[in-house]
């Protein structure tokens, strides 16, 4: 009798961190996401895996055969496919995280009213934010594993350190997801949501994804270097090509700061929206 009762009594352990906004049960939010994805959105998940693979085949292998080698900032020369593959990996991490944290969250906030339901339970805004972000991370991780396998098969992982691309991808996804969710909380219409694409597309094309940023004038280089994707691309590329330098640690730090800011923003916004 007692055992049954113990699991049938709602369990809330007072959290040390943000006790009124966090019930320590972000996992249940993530579980919900996995279940919902499995039954409704799985096609989007699968397409998210193939997108970078197609880019890699078309641009890296196809176009790359006309381009030959690319010279890295450090002076080393790598095949074009090996140059863009890590960038595509970083982009995939970004896109996966952004999709989960913007469109998915936008729908849940404005149409599904899922968060209203969640926040009527012990869950606080921080549980919801963390749970959704963990879902984005889980997806990013699956993509990254798949894509790294493809890279390995095509011989594009030039160093053992390519394995470190996995945690880097998680870091990148975490940063984008935590920020994306906070920004989405300001969006009210589909038109506003388009602004996210408006920012993502140039970032995707220009952040040393397909060519080194040394082709730009200095001022433009600085702008690109302030953008998160450039840090992501450089971080992952350093690991897959085996050409890490002191900049690696700065890239990691950049994302760490982005995560803290993003989580703070998102939790505040959720609190303002749902616990008003």
């Amino acid at each position: 009798m007692t055992t049954l009762e113990s699991i049938s009594t709602p369990k809330v352990t007072r959290q040390f961190l943000l006790p009124s906004l966090y019930a320590g049960n972000a996992r249940s939010v993530m579980e919900r996401g996995v279940l919902a994805t499995a039954s409704t959105n799985w096609l989007i998940v699968v397409s998210g895996f193939f997108e970078p693979v197609f880019y890699l085949l078309a641009m890296g292998i196809g176009l790359g055969s006309f381009i030959g080698n690319v010279e890295l900032p450090g002076g080393q020369s790598v095949p074009y496919a090996a140059y863009i593959a890590p960038a595509l990996l970083a982009v995939a991490a970004m896109n996966g995280a952004i999709f989960d944290s913007t469109w998915n969250v936008f729908f849940k906030m404005n149409f599904g009213r899922i968060y209203d339901g969640m926040l009527a339970t012990p869950l606080g805004p921080f549980d919801v934010a963390l749970g959704e972000i963990m879902l984005a991370l889980a997806r990013g991780f699956v993509y990254a594993c798949g894509f790294l396998t493809v890279m390995q098969a095509l011989g594009l992982n030039l160093s053992w350190s390519a394995i470190l691309a996995l945690p880097s991808v998680l870091l990148i996804a975490f940063a984008f997801a935590s920020f994306g969710m906070g920004i989405t909380s300001y969006m009210k219409t589909f038109q506003q949501m388009d602004w996210i694409n408006f920012i993502l597309l140039p970032m995707f094309l220009l952040s040393a994804t397909f060519f080194p940023i040394s082709v730009y004038p200095q001022a433009l280089q600085w702008i690109i270097q302030a953008m998160p994707l450039w840090h992501g691309v450089e971080l992952v590329r350093g690991f897959t090509t085996g050409m890490m330098d002191s900049a690696t640690i700065w890239h990691v730090l950049y994302f760490a700061v982005m995560i803290v800011l993003g989580l703070t923003l998102t939790t505040r916004r959720l609190k303002a929206l749902f616990l008003k």
Binding site: L4, P10, A23, S28, S39
Partner: protein
């Protein structure tokens, strides 16, 4: 095993110690509660107490401040000023702890449309940190309770309005809440669905669950509430049991007369003084009295021939009309 059981007992006792107030302490206590949105006061200094096991209603028109009050009790809205305690805790600081003791049925259903019927119950239970094996049997039990057993695998969008409402209520019971908050539980339902719902709620009340509900339906308040407050423009207008409110603010019976829209006002002057009180509405005249039939006879004796006449028991609607001077459902 023994140790585990002992530990569970200790944990339970601890929870009981923290959360279960002694009978003298109300489960909800509000003192001069205020909620302002910018300059507008949605709730303007209301005080009330709700005892454990009681069925308590907020009755009032749209925009009276009922839902806002419910949101504050549900620890999803912070008050502007005043005091509020729910299960003995301050909602501003103990949101998760309080919400773990509540079941919430919102005004419009917010079921998870990306999940199936039974999944909705299980996933919701997971938000409360409940165990999977427990939830599996609990979900079946609640589907039975909500008469949705054969709909377990359906999509939410394929359910009727009444079924969705029952599922929402079943979902709110997943954690065996001490307090069930129902915001207009039967709005938009057909009469049959309403009666099924009332029956389910009445059973919960019998089991000792504290029910707190808002409604703008008089019959609902009379059916379900032990005690209620009539609230309008963020303030409490009256408080008491449905019967005592009717006694205090109305008469035993009401005579409704229709003379046709043009004649009502003219006739009203003639019937002045008959019964305890006369209320002239655009479409009819209401005469409050202890004996409606006798009053009707007085009217016909005066030579007045209403197009239709109706003697009925006095209801909360009459109370509301008296208190606010206007019809409740606008």
């Amino acid at each position: 095993m023994c140790l585990v059981q002992l530990w569970n007992k200790c944990a339970l006792l601890l929870i009981a110690f923290i959360f279960v107030p002694s009978p003298s302490i109300p489960v909800v206590k509000a003192t001069e509660l205020v909620k302002k949105y910018k300059e507008f006061s949605a709730v303007d200094g209301i005080s009330f107490e709700i005892a454990s096991g009681e069925s308590f209603g907020f009755l009032g028109p749209n925009g009276a401040g009922k839902s806002t009050t419910m949101r504050m009790i549900g620890a999803v809205s912070t008050r502007t000023s005043g005091e509020l305690s729910v299960v003995g805790l301050d909602p501003n600081n103990y949101g998760p702890e309080i919400r773990s003791q509540l079941g919430v049925v919102p005004q419009s259903d917010n079921l998870d449309t990306e999940l199936r019927v039974r999944e909705n119950l299980i996933v919701y239970g997971r938000y409360f940190g409940l165990g999977r094996s427990f939830l599996s049997s609990k979900a079946d039990e609640l589907l039975e309770f909500a008469q949705l057993k054969d709909k377990a695998k359906e999509r939410i969008d394929d359910l009727s309005g009444g079924m969705k409402r029952r599922l929402t209520i079943a979902r709110a019971l997943i954690n065996d809440p001490r307090i069930l908050l129902l915001d207009e539980p039967t709005t938009g339902l057909d009469p049959q669905a309403r009666h099924i719902l009332w029956d389910r709620l009445f059973r919960l009340k019998e089991q000792g669950t504290t029910l707190i509900l808002t409604t703008h339906y008089m019959d609902e308040a009379e059916q379900l509430c032990d005690r209620l407050v009539v609230i309008d423009k963020g303030k409490i207008m009256a408080e008491g049991s449905p019967a005592s409110l009717i006694r205090k603010y109305s008469s035993r019976e009401v005579l409704e007369l229709r003379f046709g829209s043009e004649h009502n006002a003219k006739v009203a002057k003639k019937v002045d003084g008959i019964g305890e009180r006369v209320e002239v509405l655009p479409d009819r005249i209401l005469i409050y009295s202890e004996n409606g039939e006798a009053t009707l006879k007085q009217i016909t004796d005066l030579g007045l021939n209403p197009l239709t006449s109706l003697v009925r028991r006095s209801s909360l609607e009459d109370v509301f009309l008296r208190l606010t001077g206007r019809s409740l459902i606008e």
